[in-house]
């Protein structure tokens, strides 16, 4: 826009003053410059916001402290004519702006203190009817608008539970006065409406503590453009890195990172993205191994975030085996790997792990929880075992992911014909099926849209019900086995009733048109077809992002199942590239794991350099992750040579191989370390938070101590083994626990402890070797190095 045109008395336009610096970067100067208009008196300029005063034209000039100037012509006209106010376009956004119709106040389902508005103004017609009709419209007094209860309360002139929301005399206050004075018009059907909103600039690189003014424009259906900068709502997604005020001014924090500010106006949403580079020199990068590194490295350079060193062999081996197979490396694996001089040994480890059953078991553990493989009673054992086994076999055989999803969503039969039909047992209603499918496979949380337009995304109630319609023909019948059912498609027209409009809607993918589906055709297959073909590629992106998070602890989009325009990825190009790769390989999950696990990025050390200790966005170092409950349980057993004994399963069954949730209640360790209950399609159900209970359990749990002291445990075996000296035994313990040899001081401490004199209660010499090994094992198990994947 190279000209400011203001039409009408209430017209205003936010300016953006941008300075291009010598290095080619741009900096926002809107609040730093002095803005003057010539001739004076035609416009008023405050913090870059230009408001009309009188008809005429002129030039606005910006001058920065160093004397540099820039100018832009302006024109003001029609100041004396008053345009009819459109309720939806002009008044409802003010309710949103000032928080009147938020979910915490008048926008909640029951309203507040007898006054109800639709949430965030998603139902303007209802709001209008309510204001005018409820209690005979007592809140509005068009004869003396400033005396309206609506304004008196909102401006704090009368007691108001919500406090003073709008300043009396402010622009927004006057807008409401004008609307009241005009007789509260709703607006004509021919009035233009908002088609889309745009944020300018859409993205920027900002320095720490810098400011960036945003300009938000509404593109109207008649082709006109309105400045809505001061009417839009701004929310930063991570206040640790940036704040946004209600004038659209974004202020960066002191730390480097990626920020996103959601901008909302009516039912439209958009996003402003900024990078706050660290600014350190990024030199001497390691060699990249695949396209993942290309994108990551580019971002490091852009952000000035130098990466940590590469992880050593011990660290990498332990990390990759934990991440792919869910277990610690064996002593033999460690020795063999460390002694192997081959330059491709890391890739070969990944290949070996991907061929193993342990990979399938570990990832089946993940998917089993997400797919809600849950057992409430013993009669369901056959079902949960069969479903778990199906998941595991699908992963072991590297079934293409789209086929895997199809066999779940379009499952037909009972447990014997289609073990994946077990999903429909737990996810039993159409609503749950739709919401889980959207969250799990499209990374989209649709729950909110059931009752109203989604607050952070573009999905409407209609989208919600049309998506649900894919599941409208799912039927169940007894299978002939007690407690079991068959799932099948019952022929008929696929449709559901939109509870808001009370009208039937047919199946449609998110953002797509309704599909024509013959009654005999199962709409669930069309759903999977659409997922694969959907231009947004949420299907692929959600999966690759989920797996990215599995390895790195944080998704490119985070939370990993909350894809929306207002929650953008940190590396959009990488996300696209991973999705490309995934699709081109035929949705090959093992290939995806291979690409991630063999990338240089994955092989970085977790030890921060002087710059990246706080990096949460650029993957410039590996972020340590506490071992999950199952992995920790198994790792502890492996270290101390204890055997698990889960009811009904073979003795020694690893916790990562547990087929369902039912073992949580009988195993305190698993529940205290956050093993999920398979009640949700969200990985967030697994708790990785630290707690005192966890520490106390590791320190003091009776069964752990009993296993440490067991006659067949590792301590006993080490004590009885006369074939090795203590030093060799300590080495093997460190190999097992940490995949490395002990440091000199660690070995010295352990040896000294083992060899010092021991006496019994009567002071006579005693052999306490076994007890001392128990103590050493206990100590190793309670180190952060053991508890974390780093």
């Amino acid at each position: 826009m190279n000209r400011v045109t203001l039409k009408g008395a209430d017209a205003r336009q936010q300016l953006l003053v941008v300075q291009t610096l010598g290095d080619g970067s741009v900096a926002d100067q809107t609040r730093e410059v002095a803005l003057t208009a010539e001739p004076a008196g035609l416009v008023r300029i405050t913090d870059g916001l230009v408001e009309s005063l009188a008809n005429g034209s002129g030039v606005i000039t910006a001058r920065n402290p160093t004397g540099e100037t820039a100018s832009i012509p302006f024109e003001v006209n029609a100041v004396s004519s008053e345009k009819p106010v459109n309720f939806h376009n002009s008044i409802v956004p003010l309710f949103t702006k000032h928080g009147c119709n938020s979910g915490g106040c008048h926008g909640k389902a029951s309203g507040q203190n007898g006054f109800k508005l639709s949430l965030l103004g998603f139902e303007p017609q209802e709001d209008y009817e309510y204001l005018l009709r409820e209690a005979r419209g007592r809140r509005m007094f068009p004869a003396a608008p400033e005396r309206s209860l609506l304004l008196l309360k909102a401006s704090g002139q009368l007691p108001h539970g919500g406090g003073s929301r709008i300043d009396a005399g402010s622009f927004d206050y006057k807008a409401i006065v004008k609307w009241l004075r005009q007789g509260m018009p709703y607006g004509k059907p021919s009035d233009p409406s908002v088609e889309a909103i745009e944020v300018h600039p859409p993205e920027r690189i900002m320095k720490p503590d810098a400011r960036q003014q945003l300009v938000v424009l509404a593109r109207m259906t008649d082709g006109s453009v309105e400045d809505i900068t001061h009417s839009a709502v701004y929310e930063a997604n991570n206040r640790e890195y940036a704040e946004a005020d209600n004038t659209g001014l974004v202020t960066a924090g002191g730390d480097s990172g990626e920020i996103a500010v959601m901008v909302r106006y009516q039912d439209k949403a958009s996003v402003f993205r900024a990078s706050i580079p660290f600014g350190a020199p990024v030199d001497n990068l390691p060699a990249g191994r695949n396209f993942v590194d290309d994108f990551i490295f580019a971002k490091w350079k852009q952000a000035g975030m130098p990466p940590s060193e590469m992880a050593g062999d011990s660290t990498y081996l332990r990390r990759v085996i934990l991440d792919i197979a869910g277990r610690l490396p064996t002593v033999a694996e460690v020795k063999s790997f460390l002694d192997d001089p081959a330059p491709d040994k890391r890739q070969r480890v990944v290949e070996r792990l991907l061929r193993s059953e342990e990979y399938a078991e570990y990832f089946a553990n993940k998917w089993s929880a997400l797919l809600r493989n849950k057992r409430a009673n013993g009669a369901q054992l056959r079902t949960t075992l069969a479903f778990y086994d199906w998941i595991k076999e699908s992963l072991y055989n590297n079934k293409p992911y789209d086929q895997f999803v199809r066999e779940i969503l379009a499952a037909s039969g009972g447990i014997d014909q289609s073990p994946a039909s077990a999903w429909f047992k737990q996810v039993s209603s159409q609503q749950a099926q739709m919401e889980d499918a959207a969250q799990l496979f499209l990374g989209t949380r649709l729950k909110c849209a059931q009752c109203h337009h989604h607050p952070f995304e573009k999905w409407s109630q209609n989208d919600y019900y049309r998506f649900m319609a894919f599941f409208s023909r799912v039927s169940k019948a007894p299978s002939g086995r007690p407690g079991e059912e068959i799932v099948f498609h019952r022929a008929g027209v696929a449709q559901v009733t939109n509870k808001k409009t009370n009208k039937p809607v047919k199946p449609a993918g998110l953002g797509s048109g309704e599909l024509k589906i013959a009654p005999v055709d199962d709409p669930r297959h069309r759903l999977v077809d659409w997922m694969r073909e959907d231009p947004s590629r949420l299907f692929s992106k959600t999966l690759v992002n989920r797996y990215w998070k599995h390895f790195f602890g944080r998704g490119l989009v985070d939370p990993e199942d909350d894809f929306r325009s207002t929650n953008p990825p940190t590396h959009p190009g990488l996300l696209d590239a991973l999705a490309d790769h995934f699709e081109k390989t035929g949705y090959d999950l093992k290939s995806l794991v291979r690409v991630i696990a063999t990338s240089t990025t994955y092989q970085l050390s977790s030890v921060p350099n002087g710059h990246n200790a706080k990096d949460m966005h650029y993957f410039s170092r590996f972020q340590p992750k506490r071992l999950t409950a199952e992995v920790l349980y198994d790792s502890l057993n492996d270290l101390i040579l204890a055997r698990s004994n889960f009811g009904g399963l073979p003795v020694g069954t690893r916790a990562v191989c547990l087929p369902d949730n039912s073992y949580n209640s009988s195993n305190y360790f698993l529940s205290v370390f956050g093993r999920p209950d398979s009640s949700s399609a969200c990985e967030c159900e697994r708790s990785q938070e630290a707690s005192l209970a966890q520490s106390l359990h590791l320190f003091n749990a009776k069964n752990i101590h009993e296993q440490l002291a067991h006659k067949d445990g590792r301590a006993a075996r080490l004590a009885a083994d006369k074939g090795q000296d203590h030093a060799a035994k300590i080495n093997s313990l460190y190999y097992r626990a940490f995949a490395r040899l002990p440091r000199r001081e660690e070995a010295d401490v352990a040896l000294a402890y083992l060899t010092r004199e021991a006496t019994d209660k009567e002071g006579k010499p005693a052999d306490k070797t076994k007890e001392r090994y128990e103590d050493i094992l206990w100590a190793l198990a309670n180190t952060k190095e053991f508890l974390f994947n780093h």
């Binding site: 014909q417 002939g480 007690p482 407690g483 022929a491 005999v520 003795v651």
Partner: protein, 742 residues
């Protein structure tokens, strides 16, 4: 040969041990849960052991082939030496244990040309894996919460066909079979049929790991693991033929002699061979024959066949028999109504639900006013399918104008005359209609389960035939009462009569066409002194109970009997022999566990004259006992106790709903007579013929009969539910008052 003797009033009428839902106890009755090992090589002998309950006084094992014999080697351990004569064809036969407490239910016993290996205990680690050579079979048992291990030699390039049979042999095992290399790395996994088909890439040794899918184990989790160089048949097409002499079938499988590639792949991804053979060239056996089929298959005739390759026979497979025309074969490209394949009527067509989401369309010409039956057989052929059919009748006028009626859709057959113990409800399709005009019936068939997987084995047959009245019969003994305290149990069923015992056998009628007439039941092969109470399946009824009484048995007996049903259909009398059926496993609670049933090879009967019913109720007088609807009825009874049953007995009337609240009839220890006084008016028993029993819970000490010819002091505390023989009463309407003369 003694045929039926009418049940004689005045004779000793003992109590019946009737297994009904309310039974809470039993007298010791022999039941077999397993025979191990469950097979023997042709021409060889093997020592077997029988497992089960109440297997005292073992006298023998009886087999369904005369060439298989057994002698007792250890009565206490129930061990036998079994010999299989050289001329016995390979197949799956049935074995029953015989002892002092009766003839048990049967268990399959396999005869083959493979070398039999017995798996000792302890092979629960890789290190203790048992070797299995080529063309050998090992009999094993799964261990709870542990896998069992075997090993085979691997020769590079030489195909391994390993097959685990379990459920088809009445095992509870649902096997997970894994093939591993000597380092434990997985090489292959068994498919749903328990087959591993693997060609080693190098010489060495392969390990086989077997465990139950739910990690169960024990004597009832037996299996046979074959390492066979013989053929394996995955499926056959068509799955139904019109005759077992002239028909040809195409076998699809692996290692088929003289085969050619079929172009099809099995679900395990391996290519299938095909071989067309005359069915008469196959080894023919009786059902069930080691083929796992749902109970609903009973409506089909058919046989069990094997393909031989040299001396080695394949796995058994079922081929149905529908007399009439040979089945047409589905032609491809019939996925839409306008390309429907025309099949002559009456007729049948065999097809496949293949590939996934396949749709097949057919049209059958029909004639006005004719009554037809449209049937789809698929699940009843043992396929994991759920046929969904849309059928539409389309009238065609002389000028060719078509008048379609609304299409109907069909999902399943819910009719289940077999009840809980022999559930023949199924997911196939059956539809009776009368054509309103000349035209055709258009059938569009899909498989609701065939949505995501390409499986060429999902066969089906669609038939359209004119209605033909008829019936089939099933005989299902209900003789072993539930264990004490359990009210929802289903026991293994045997027909064992003590002296004076009466037992019921359920006779189930599978009516065909529009036949609804009565069916009279008789028995062939009854020994002397054993009688059948008059039994008839009444018009429109689906079952009746046949009562057998060992009134005055002349001698102890073990053997097979045949229930025969006769009915008049049209102008001729039709006789059908009832097919015997058996429950496969004991079920503790049918609301929590599935009930598995199958056809058996014979209706077995055993009688022990040295064992007497503890409590005998005699009705004095001839039935039916007659009374007026507004009057009273008195039934004199006599009681005789044998053994230590000294407590007072309280009899309840069972079987007439109006008499549910009838007061109990108390009979003290020394009491030998009593009368049952029924106030018909008070209890509003309607006019007509009614049958009831007297039921009571009896406690006492059961004295075991002589075991192996020797008296024994063995006794057992028992509490059992007993039922008297049926008592028939006729309630007549009150006579009309005489009209006064004017």
């Amino acid at each position: 040969m003694n045929l039926i003797r009418l049940f004689r009033r005045g004779a000793v009428v003992p109590l019946i041990y009737l297994a009904v839902a309310q039974a809470i106890g039993q007298l010791p009755t022999a039941r077999m849960t397993a025979i191990f090992p469950m097979g023997c090589q042709i021409g060889a002998e093997v020592e077997v052991q029988v497992h089960g309950a109440d297997l005292d006084g073992a006298t023998g094992l009886q087999f369904s082939h005369p060439g298989i014999s057994a002698e007792v080697t250890n009565v206490g351990e129930r061990k036998f030496k079994v010999r299989v004569a050289g001329g016995v064809p390979a197949g799956v036969y049935e074995a029953r244990f015989a002892g002092a407490l009766g003839f048990t239910n049967s268990r399959p016993f396999v005869v083959s040309s493979l070398v039999e290996v017995l798996s000792p205990d302890g092979n629960t680690t890789r290190e203790t894996a048992i070797s299995l050579g080529v063309n050998s079979v090992i009999n094993g048992t799964a261990v709870s919460r542990q896998p069992v291990w075997f090993k085979v030699a691997a020769i590079k390039g030489q195909r391994l066909l390993l097959r685990v049979s379990a459920a088809a042999l009445d095992s509870r095992l649902n096997p997970v079979v894994l093939l591993r290399d000597s380092d434990g790395e997985r090489l292959a996994r068994g498919n749903d049929a328990g087959l591993i088909d693997y060609t080693p890439a190098a010489d060495g040794e392969c390990l086989i790991q077997i465990h139950d899918a739910s990690y169960g184990g024990g004597t009832e989790y037996f299996f046979r693991l074959e390492n066979s160089a013989g053929p394996h048949v995955d499926f056959v097409s068509p799955p139904v033929v019109s005759s077992f002499t002239g028909s040809e079938v195409t076998l699809y499988g692996r290692n088929l002699p003289g085969s050619k590639p079929s172009g099809l792949k099995a679900v395990d991804g391996l290519s299938l061979e095909q071989l067309t053979v005359k069915i008469s060239e196959l080894i023919h056996g009786d059902r069930p024959g080691g083929v796992l089929l749902p109970a609903a298959t009973v409506v089909l005739d058919g046989g069990v066949f094997r393909l031989a390759k040299g001396k080695i026979a394949s796995n058994p497979f079922f081929v149905g028999l529908i007399e009439g025309k040979s089945p047409a074969i589905e032609q491809g490209d019939n996925e839409t109504a306008d390309r429907a394949q025309t099949i002559p009527t009456p007729g049948l067509v065999a097809g496949r639900f293949f590939p996934a989401r396949d749709v097949d369309c057919f049209r059958f010409p029909i004639k006005k006013d004719e009554v037809y039956w449209l049937e789809v057989f698929s699940q009843r052929l043992g396929k994991k399918t759920n046929p969904y059919v849309t059928a539409q009748l389309i009238g065609v006028a002389k000028d060719g104008k078509e008048s379609p009626e609304p299409a109907k859709e069909f999902y399943e057959i819910k009719d289940n005359p077999g009840g809980r113990e022999f559930n023949i409800a199924n997911r196939d399709v059956s539809w009776r209609f009368q054509a309103k005009s000349d035209g055709y019936c258009r059938v569009i068939a899909r498989d609701l389960f065939n949505q995501v997987e390409d499986d060429p084995g999902r066969g089906y047959v669609v038939t359209l035939n004119r209605e033909r009245p008829g019936f089939r019969l099933l005989a299902h003994p209900r003789t072993v009462p539930s264990a004490l305290g359990s009210t929802k149990a289903i026991e293994l069923m045997v027909t064992h009569l003590r002296k004076g015992t009466t037992l019921p056998v359920q006779i189930i009628a599978l009516r065909e066409g529009d036949f609804n007439g009565p069916i009279r039941i008789s028995i062939e092969g009854l020994p002397e002194g054993v009688n059948l109470h008059p039994c008839e399946i009444r018009a429109r009824q689906k079952s009746a109970t046949a009562f057998l009484t060992a009134t005055e048995p002349a001698a102890s007996f073990t053997g097979n009997i045949r229930f025969v049903g006769k009915a008049v259909i049209g102008d001729r009398e039709v006789a059908q022999v009832a097919r015997p059926t058996a429950t496969v496993h004991r079920v503790g609670d049918y609301d929590k566990e599935p009930v598995f049933s199958r056809l058996a090879k014979g209706s077995a009967l055993s009688v022990n004259v040295d064992d007497t019913e503890p409590i005998q109720v005699t009705v004095v007088g001839d039935d039916p006992f007659t009374g007026l609807i507004n009057g009273k009825l008195t039934i004199p009874l006599k009681f005789k106790r044998t053994g230590e049953y000294n407590e007072k007995i309280n009899f309840k009337v069972y079987g007439i709903s109006q008499l549910q609240k009838f007061p109990e009839l108390a009979v003290n220890k020394d009491q030998t007579e009593a009368s049952l006084e029924i106030d018909l008016a008070k209890f509003k028993v309607p006019a007509g013929q009614h049958t009831f029993q007297l039921a009571a819970t009896i406690k006492g000490k059961y004295q075991f009969p002589p075991l192996n010819g020797k008296k024994t002091d063995k006794k057992k505390d028992v509490t059992f539910q007993s039922f008297s023989p049926p008592i028939v009463v006729e309630v007549k309407p009150a006579p009309e008052p005489a009209k006064k003369k004017k």
